[in-house]
Symmetry: D2
Subunit: 326 residues, 4 copies
């Protein structure tokens, strides 16, 4: 289903090459000052990440069509739409029978009996993340000024040396290829008590949303997979005071599924962009043979760059939901 949340509910719609991408957000408290300018910074971060091949150029202007009155939220559903202006559907028509490897083309065709809008990935397109970023902006408003987000790319193509990042991406572009990366999001000021033991742990809700974001294949909190290599005496975080501040933060700010007041640390593994200009072999449903495929169109060489603000938005949405429940 394309909606999520009990008390801060986000519903998405739209297709890459359709008329619009939109989001309706239910559960926004009344009285929050909100205008289209509030969305600019995060939408710009999403756009700016675009690097590599020629990017699709869209103005990405948010249009608030309900839920605002005299500059403030009304408590009624807040709906934001983005028009699709720069679509070139001709680019994609040949892919109908020759599904792109590691793309949703094949499964979508199977699941929707061939009726899915395949142009540019249709509803599976990364363009839908525009709506997530918009919802993330609203979520951050609900979380309030005391909650801070710090999101960054911590590795690209296997290296954590930031000075290498640009070089690795350029190399991938030069070879008509793409490259993956890891995004880390650290959140301060969220306080103690968000999340529940079964089944809505803070980790569960955050991971649920993160794994909805296209291209994400792993999620970890605190020391994450490195925890599995540790001893308990090494991993346990010593509590140092009555506020629950810990000496280390291997837990990433969550124990027993509940935030413990320390910095929340979550990392997401972003796979390399599936669409690459390099020729690939894959099955052609009309010929019945494995044949070379060359994907045209406009794609990102390292989607992790643009995914960073989307990941931050997904985390913010999960936290807004948890805050509303408290």
């Amino acid at each position: 289903m394309n909606s999520w949340g009990k008390l801060f509910r986000v519903s998405l719609w739209g297709e890459s090459h359709g008329e619009q991408v939109g989001v309706s957000i239910d559960g926004v408290p009344a009285g929050i000052a909100l205008c289209t300018e509030d969305f600019e910074a995060d939408l710009a971060r999403r756009r700016a990440g675009s690097r590599g091949t020629t990017p699709r150029s869209e103005s990405d202007l948010p249009h608030i069509v309900s839920g605002i009155f005299e500059g403030k939220t009304t408590g009624a559903p807040l709906t934001i739409i983005f028009l699709n202006e720069n679509t070139r559907s001709a680019d994609y028509s040949s892919l109908k029978n020759h599904p792109r490897p590691s793309h949703a083309d094949f499964v979508a065709q199977q699941k929707y009996n061939g009726c899915n809008d395949y142009r540019g990935g249709g509803h599976f397109s990364g363009r839908l993340t525009l709506a997530l970023v918009a919802a993330g902006v609203v979520a951050k408003k609900i979380l309030g000024g005391e909650v801070s987000f710090h999101t960054e790319i911590t590795s690209i193509g296997g290296t954590t040396d930031r000075e290498q990042f640009a070089h690795i991406i350029e190399q991938a572009i030069a070879e008509c290829d793409s490259v993956g990366g890891v995004v880390e999001c650290r959140i301060g000021g969220i306080g103690i008590g968000l999340g529940e033991p079964f089944f809505d742990s803070a980790e569960s809700l955050i991971a649920h949303l993160l794994f909805s974001v296209p291209a994400i294949k792993g999620v970890e909190f605190g020391s994450g997979f490195r925890s599995a290599a540790m001893r308990g005496s090494e991993h346990n975080d010593c509590i140092t005071n009555s506020k629950g501040t810990t000496l280390t933060n291997h837990a990433g700010g969550i124990v027993g599924g509940i935030t413990n007041g320390n910095e929340l640390v979550v990392r997401a593994a972003v796979k390399p962009t599936a669409s690459i200009a390099k020729e690939q072999m894959t099955y052609n449903f009309s010929s019945g043979n494995v044949e070379p495929l060359t994907i045209k169109g406009r794609h990102d060489a390292c989607i992790a760059l643009r995914a960073a603000v989307v990941i931050e938005a997904a985390v913010a949405i999960a936290l807004a939901e948890l805050k509303q429940r408290q």
Copy 2:
């Protein structure tokens, strides 16, 4: 909230040292043959994992109290309870003011205003996973015989050399410590089309449930975090035939949030057991000082061993929910 699922809904209750742990499962189709013996194998796997310190000895007999008539499910809620027989609450009373590091003690006290049942972790106890394992057995019945689960520990204490596993655990025990591990679950035969683009991707639902399981700090699918180090040309899975079989399986059987008919591969990082016999420093709320704490009681040196079947159960529950939605 302590229930999960739209069409295959699992509701849990109970505390480590309370009267019982139970689960009520709604959405079980009528007519499935089910008896207490069906639970034995998985419950035994959960028990058998117990290694290290003296285990709490419980018979773990499932008692089906509703939803069965003449040996078959009726379509009404299926409720299974496990009595707690071997509780030693005295072991835990001293921990009230001296919360265990990396345990839920502190956050639970804060969240529930000091009213939580702290004995043995109360509702946060790993004992609640008994109910998950039972629900997993029912989930597998719904998935049917064509779906196969293969679950194993792929690393302990940082090594993937299975011959070392026993040794690493023994060492941890000898040093009154614990050790983490990684559990991999591979599922065959689930077919194409489970999961949805936003927000209920197959990965989202599986990760949601896995992160509800105590001690899990990371979840990845297919190549997971290794994907982030790859090039697209390396990571993309070439489709080889009309059934969607791929040459490689970096996607772990899920693309665009939807199962693609290949083996589903998910891994979970299990942190080292937080309860260790070794002395630890942590804050004492009554004295206001950081003081040494020695945890008594009975604990597992490597909780990953027992977590394996719990992880498998969580995956099965998520897949049963997705199957019911189809």
Copy 3:
């Protein structure tokens, strides 16, 4: 929350005097032929009901902005918007401090801390029922041709004599007043087995949606409130054959919360339009006195007329949800 349904999920937004009213429908199966013309008949029924004072003139053209490709549903969210073209906000500004009796003005102001869009009722406006009617059209497509709806006004102003209806309404108009009515919806062909004992009985879901429709104050099934006056021997419906056909239908097609294959019969009591041109006394928040209020603007003398197709839509949505669950 402004969304409803687990598997056929309808999310609404918009305000009476905002830019648009919209609905996004999730869970629509792929491959259903659908075009804007499909909405015409039901939208016309909603418009045609308008009688009494000068009606607000709106074209009410549905605009499908997502979920359709090449004339068929895609399985992705189906979103339909209606632009508000003929708004006269000036009509309503004086009501801010002088809330209309039996309108949402007062509660909305209290609930949303004075931030609600009060113009024309804002999000509480009957204009939102446009979205419900649109969703109802889609719901009927899902139910299929074998399911038939027969909806009619069975009483107005207390009389069941249809020949009196027009006269009663004219009288109310002449006296600047309004009048209530009862709408009956009979549905054939829905089959056996929709609904569940606790808590999602067919009656529960239908009533849930009907009581979301503005102005509805009562819902009954089959003999409804008359059942309370009956003997069991009179009320019980004798089963006459293996298909479950009953001799009488006091149950209105639902027993034990589950459809029994007979005609489903539901009635809704629609209160008289709260907005009347006749002077009324009510509290003025700025003066602190109970003062006369004369409501300007354009209103229906008997909202039951327009409510009929809305009620039918609400029932269709509930049944589509239940059918998807089966």
Copy 4:
């Protein structure tokens, strides 16, 4: 599904002639004093209603098996079970092929492919309302002392003259028949602002739960079906002060789906008990003929009497959910 509520979630299980009937309640705040004695009064009201034929004698002792520690709720799921002690399954076996008119026997058999537990109505039994009453007690604790419930039978067998009630029931008993009634529940002190415009109006949630209760065929608020016979000038409730107190209460305390601070008034029509000792004609699935049926067993002549406290509980549960959302 057998659970209801987002933030105050009630999950039921059990069968009339099974081992137990139970309820697990999630979302109960920590720190509420609660003991088995708290349930006595409402459980006694449910028992006391039993009149007519020999009642099934059950002790109906609530057994709290989780969620309580040192006399207070812990914030973890609160689970209460009732053992079935006095079951006589032999009474019902003959009904398998000869379904009782206006009972769930026929639809249950169809829906669950003949696997349902048919003994005494199985999961459809009124015995399940024990669990609802228990949940209602907890709901009232959450609502707090300022909220008062006043529930009474306002008509039986069509008369509103209370002095006739006993006589009407005795007559029905004498004729081996049953009789219906109307229950009115008035709730004071719930304040302004509970409920939402679409789709979770206060009326929607209350009606949803009421129509889950067996035998309820109609629900109305305030003037309800009588509203449909009124003029707007007659029905509109004049606001008299800044607290929103109205001169009349035709709205029954809810406008625009939201409580307005006045007394909440809801009425439910309870059909006559379907099980009557009088001979009835109905289809016999084994013979293929319509044949006389005489129902043995123990039944209430006027189930409305016992339904009163169940109706009150259902309303309390709906209001607790709405209060938790606020």
